[in-house]
Symmetry: C2
Subunit: 309 residues, 2 copies
């Protein structure tokens, strides 16, 4: 194999009560990467599309190529490689854009090298790439993009990542309003301490959400999708959040929350039709305050990255 | 029916990371109650055994009779009732002693009245009885004693209680050292705020523990049984805690922690033989510092209260 094209999915992290520990992959949007081996040694970025000129072409600054370089160092291969990155999702959107690029890169190079490492082993290289973009490696974006499904980060130190069983017909709808929130800013407005009462309520909900997902209890999933700690603070950066969320719940969403650090908002539902209806009412709400938006509806993506050619 | 004898099980609450939200029932020890209808109206306590004379015989002060009185008021029955309570577990032990009495009382009276209420409906009466003993109604003791099994209290307001699927062969060992910790004191030494980092680690572990239990992943259960917030503080009230815990883990325990607010300590394991071995080494550790102790080994009790005669 001297060329490969890979798709890696967008992800929803900070799933309501599961701040920093729960994320899931969707079927679209996502990023595409093409890797081509060449005679001249070293890794070069030949093209980046869909980034409106905002991403660096320097290989040591781009999330995709950082993960590739780390991988190549680890497996001790010194090859010539041309990289073509096609960003097919909005930037700074809370959909794990940098994580998807990083995952696409490391998954593609591992395929090109004949799968020298397992998916689990790839995780640390993908995380390292993502760390450059956001200052910290968000495993709750990177892990679901790489592994597919609904993923729990039980621990960051040591890293302990678990794929959670979920109901077959769980659908996600994501709305991306055309505004931007910087991840670092969104983290900086968070408090350093939480009242023990709020923390207990939060871990009760985390327990409920995991129990609901693994035991196929949609009522429990719905009741557990609550975040009384971060959402009230972060949602202030998203105009119209309360109204959009209320409209989603009224349209039948199991629950609704900020995707990652926003401004995208996600909702879960039990059927494709309901998810589409929810998307429409959310879009209407944003339109009412003059904000354009884009909707993505899919099942939970269980596959993670896939080879396109 | 004019007489009934009921057993209600002891419980382990505050299961490691699941402070205030996770508890489970064991097969022994537990409390027994006998109710006999009589001609003279009103509820009277005829006998309390096993309490070393420490429990009040006043019906409005005893957890068992408070729950019975509240039940009778709710169902609008005015009967004559004699109550015989046999405490068959240590007092102030962290094994949900008051919860078991409360559950035994309300379960027994409901049987005697021809099951006017469902188990779910009984919960609030049992909680009310327990509230008198500890100042707050610990649903993570009361609910597993009443419902059996491993129980998640997702929320206290409104009360939302979920029975969690658990692996068939999950065994518990409990050791009760012959020292006493007052529940109110044990709560008072806890902080009012927690660092956000610790809280995130705790809810990651709660997610991991629930996922491990429902997905039959013993490794995950083991890794998730960690409490870096409360255990370091509360364990200071239990002499030898660190050594006892270390010995349990070395003997093959999946995990080990304080039962309720202590001083009892519990461990989980995958087999009866291992659980017994763990109990022996824990008992040896306490003996080395001159503390006598009592061991209880059983599977997770899935039944809750049972009618004995």
């Amino acid at each position: 194999m001297d060329s490969i094209k890979v798709f890696a999915p967008a992800t929803v992290a900070n799933v309501t009560c599961g701040f920093d520990i729960l994320g899931f992959a969707v079927e679209n949007p996502g990023d595409e990467i093409i890797l081509k081996t060449c005679k001249k040694p070293g890794v070069v970025i030949r093209e980046i599309k869909g980034d409106e000129g905002r991403l660096s072409h320097a290989v040591e600054e781009n999330t995709a190529t950082i993960s590739i370089l780390n991988y190549l160092t680890h497996v001790e291969r010194d090859i010539g490689l041309e990289v073509y990155l096609h960003k097919k999702m909005p930037f700074g959107s809370g959909l794990g854009s940098s994580a998807a690029s990083s995952v696409a890169g490391v998954f593609a190079i591992n395929q090109l090298m004949g799968q020298l490492l397992t998916t689990e082993e790839l995780l640390k290289f993908a995380l390292e790439g993502e760390r450059v973009a956001s200052g910290t490696g968000h495993a709750d974006n990177v892990a679901p993009s790489l592994m597919g499904g609904f993923v729990l980060i039980r621990s960051y130190d040591p890293l302990d990542v678990i794929k959670i069983n979920t109901p077959e017909n769980l659908h996600a709808v994501i709305i991306h309003p055309n505004i931007e929130v910087n991840t670092k800013d969104a983290r900086n407005i968070l408090k350093k301490n939480v009242p023990i009462k709020s923390a207990i309520r939060q871990w009760g909900n985390v327990g409920g959400l995991i129990a609901g997902l693994t035991m196929n209890d949609f009522g429990l999933i719905s009741r557990s999708m609550e975040d009384a700690i971060f959402e009230p603070v972060r949602s202030m950066l998203i105009p119209g959040f309360d109204q959009v969320k209320a409209s989603a719940l009224e349209a039948g969403a199991l629950g609704c929350g900020i995707s990652g650090s926003g401004p995208s908002i996600f909702a879960l539902s039990t059927a494709d039709g309901t998810a589409r209806k929810i998307g429409t009412v959310m879009k209407d709400q944003f339109a009412q305050i003059g904000i354009e938006s884009e909707i993505f509806v899919s099942k939970i993506n269980q596959k993670g990255p896939v080879i396109l050619d």
